[in-house]
């Protein structure tokens, strides 16, 4: 029977990448002096399951590498090898190499074998050095010990007294074989631990014509005579999937009494492997009877196998659901508008029904949105490693504090905010935090602190990246900006305005451009990424005390809080994130400057007025400024007063792409559907501001 294993590759890759993430975070927590055995076990399990999967799915390079890694980890686990900084670094490097190999295998690219071989050599070197150091104890697992070697080693020690009789019940789920699990392999490994008797239960086997070849109908009872601890036995079953039921229990009877199935002694005499092969196909044996009461006495064991309460669902399924809920919201708005217009005895009932519907719908909407939400720790988790590596390379002492890592936000936002955050954190270490000597001179703690803080505020999420380093050097920024022609030599700028300059394209103040940062593409890309997500970024800095970058993002990309404004017969939606204030201007507040350009005083600055009807070529109801309203909007680092006829209201709108059936429209980011079923366009404020200044310049 051949099964096309490629259909399980994606699941293998997904699981392996996740496992590597957890391995990395355990490694970073690892205390070199006295490692937590649980962490070591977690790390070992990752290597072990990737090795198993790699071998099963035919990724020989991955299996071979993880085998060496596993050997090293086994030495560490059994405390034959102390956890040193060198081993820690080796293991972290292994994580990178495994990621690269998996990525290559996933994209069907050739694996960069040279770096793999180098690292594998280093790992084996560490093992060999240990062997030379303590030559007295033979190490059964070091080197390329394959299972037959291990079997021999164990058979040698088979003369030792074994007085524990383990009773193991394995009831695989239906997908057992589909996942490439080979029970014979497991049994063979168990046989290494001691004398094993296997009984296959065939009672669930259907008639031949009903048999699905990929489905597992078998279950097994195993009796193992061994001095191995329970953990060692469970470990062999480690990479069984969660739908397998596994119970391991003991019968504290001394070995060799009548209850021991005859097969045990067979296995002892003839070697485990052929015996198992025979048992798998043999009829059920009587050994099951004494096992059952033991099993029911330990209900907790069943829970062991299904600890995970989550399911893996394709993103497109969730998106479909979100879209449907969006339709529902629109339909509801449509119905409630109709409801307002009717009267009669049934109308009251209808209205209360509609209210009930609205409550349920809101709950549904929130629930569905939450499905797409992931904790920001998914992104934050990469920083401990990055900060550690960078600080080491730059010879700085940096401590990373992470606050609010459970804060949840939309998966798409999450995926796109990773790179900007990496940029910011890199900048903090590279430019922000001073060297230990400089910090000592400034009377600061020698270790610099970088703080990542995420929190919810209203319908938004705030992500703050702050450091207690040198802060932004305003004079230098201004000098650079002038030299680069970004600022006119005579312009007087406030500190806050100077700090804004770092977001301009082509700006970099690093005295030595390192390979980490300083290519001058950093901050403007960061800002563009953030604004593309409908968010904004601000910088606050005090010389000598550090700087703080505050990113404000919408929780989701599916819904936006908007202000609806009217121009002529059209309704437009202004995202709340980019509006600051709306006001009615008296003619006296407006100053006309050259060629019909108008400005007005807002707080302590002069803002240009952008008439939306001119940009969109519409016939407005209000042409005189005092007849309409000016909405102060912010985008692309600038503020303008957007002149519209009127404000209509504030509402949450479901974002619909214009590009699905049409294309990009300048000044418009997307569309939405209003309560009456008509379409309203959502304004792209940064784009509008850019266009307006282009027009003014033309």
């Amino acid at each position: 029977m051949t099964i096309d294993l490629t259909q399980f590759h994606d699941a293998f890759f997904d699981e392996s990448f996740e496992a590597l993430d957890s391995m990395e975070s355990e490694l970073l927590k690892l205390d070199t002096g006295s490692p937590d055995p649980e962490s070591i076990n977690t790390i070992f399990r990752v290597a072990h399951s990737i090795k198993g999967g790699g071998a099963t799915f035919g990724f020989a390079e991955i299996a071979s590498f993880t085998h060496s890694l596993e050997t090293l980890l086994d030495e560490v686990r059994s405390k034959r090898l102390a956890v040193t900084q060198r081993i820690c670094d080796l293991l972290l490097k292994s994580v990178d190499i495994m990621r690269a190999m998996l990525q290559a295998a996933k994209t069907k690219q050739p694996i960069a074998m040279q770096s793999v071989a180098d690292l594998q050599f280093d790992i084996e070197l560490v093992i060999v050095q240990r062997d030379n150091g303590i030559a007295a104890s033979p190490s059964p697992t070091s080197g390329a010990a394959d299972s037959s070697d291990a079997t021999n080693t164990q058979s040698d020690s088979a003369d030792e007294p074994r007085n524990i009789e383990w009773l193991i019940e394995l009831r695989p789920g239906p997908s057992f074989f589909e996942r490439g699990t080979d029970p014979v392999r497991i049994f063979r490994e168990l046989g290494v631990l001691g004398a094993l008797a296997v009984t296959a239960h065939l009672d669930a086997l259907p008639a031949y014509q009903d048999l699905e070849p990929q489905r597992c109908y078998l279950s097994w009872s195993l009796t193992l005579l061994s001095d191995a601890p329970e953990a060692a036995i469970r470990e062999i079953f480690e990479w069984l999937n969660a739908d397998c039921e596994l119970t391991v229990s003991t019968r504290n009877a001394p070995a060799g009494i009548d209850a021991t199935p005859a097969a045990a002694s067979d296995a002892d005499a003839g070697g485990a492997t052929p015996q198992i092969g025979a048992s798998v196909v043999s009829a059920p044996r009587t050994a099951t009877a004494p096992l059952l009461p033991v099993e029911s006495a330990q209900p907790a064991q069943a829970a062991f196998a299904n600890e995970s309460g989550s399911i893996r669902v394709g993103v497109e399924k969730v998106d479909e659901l979100i879209n449907t809920v969006g339709e529902l919201v629109i339909t509801h708005a449509m119905l409630s508008q109709i409801c307002h217009g009717i009267s009669g005895p049934a109308a009251e009932l209808l209205r209360s029904g509609m209210q009930q519907l609205e409550r349920n719908m809101r709950q549904l909407q929130e629930g569905v949105m939450r499905v797409r939400m992931l904790p920001i720790s998914v992104v934050f988790s990469r920083f401990p490693r990055m900060v550690r590596d960078l600080a080491q390379r730059l010879d700085k002492q940096v401590e990373l504090k992470i606050i609010g890592e459970t804060t949840e936000l939309d998966k798409t936002v999450l995926e796109k905010i990773g790179d900007p955050l990496v940029h910011l954190v890199r900048n903090c270490i590279d430019h922000g935090i001073e060297t230990a000597a400089a910090r000592a001179a400034a009377g600061k703690n020698l270790t610099g602190t970088i703080c990542l803080n995420a929190s919810h505020r209203g319908g938004n999420i705030d992500i703050e990246v702050s450091d207690d380093g040198g802060g932004l050097n305003c004079e230098r920024i201004l000098a650079k900006a002038r030299a680069a022609g970004l600022v006119d030599a005579n312009d007087k700028l406030s500190d806050a305005e100077i700090q804004q300059l770092i977001f301009l394209p082509g700006f970099s103040t690093a005295e030595i451009t390192t390979d980490l940062s300083g290519r001058g593409v950093g901050m403007d890309v960061v800002r563009r990424n953030v604004t593309d997500l409908g968010g904004k970024i601000e910088v606050y800095s005090a010389r000598g005390q550090g700087s703080r970058f505050l990113i404000t993002l919408p929780l989701t990309l599916a819904i936006v809080d908007g202000l609806s404004v009217a121009v002529g017969d059209q309704i437009y939606i202004l995202p709340m994130m980019s509006t600051i204030e709306s006001l009615r201007l008296a003619p006296s507040q407006v100053t006309s400057i050259a060629e019909g350009r108008e400005v007005f005083a807002f707080r302590d600055e002069y803002l240009p007025i952008v008439r939306l009807y001119k940009i969109f070529d519409l016939t407005p109801r209000a042409r005189a400024l005092h007849e309409g309203l000016v909405v102060v909007v912010e985008g692309a680092g600038r503020r303008v007063g957007l002149f519209v006829d009127d404000l209509v209201g504030q509402q949450q709108v479901v974002i619909k792409s214009l590009e699905t059936h049409y294309g990009r429209v300048s000044g418009i980011s997307a569309a939405t559907i209003l309560g009456d079923g008509s379409v309203a366009l959502i304004l792209d404020v940064p784009d509008l501001i850019r266009n307006a200044s282009l027009r003014a310049a033309a």
Binding site: D617, V665, I668, S678, V679
Partner: protein
Amino acid sequence: MPSPSIDPTAAAAVNQVLTFVIGDATYGIDIPCVQEIRGWSPVTRLPQAPADVLGVLNLRGSIVPVLDLRLKFGADNVQYTPITVIIVVSVMSAKGAREFGMVVDGVSDVIDITAQDVKPAPDLGATASGAYIRGLIPVSGRMVVLLDVELLIGKEFAAAASAGATQAA
């Protein structure tokens, strides 16, 4: 294309064509790409769009552009009355199915045609509709102009995309 070597079964295959009128002329499009036919309802204008792109419409939750085929084919003095019709068509593109609405004066009929019924169009020179004509079908003494919807929508989107790109730059 009528050709003596053509497979008789293929030649006999019947296609259905939806015919509609714009001014005095009758046009036809293949039925399979027609999604629905709906009455005129006001659309939301798109800024800086070509004159024949009237705007966008909510089609069961999708935002669908509406093109006035009458304006596109050079008619002037078009009117939007309760009997004005929007034919919603769907074509496959590289980015998946794309839908758009075409405003016409009225829908007339569904006719069955075979490949032999379609006569090649004479070179009409640089007329507005000339670029989109797949052929001519004589039907009971009249002439139905068979349009290539994919060509129509493809050129429209290429124009929209490049317009958006230049303005965004």
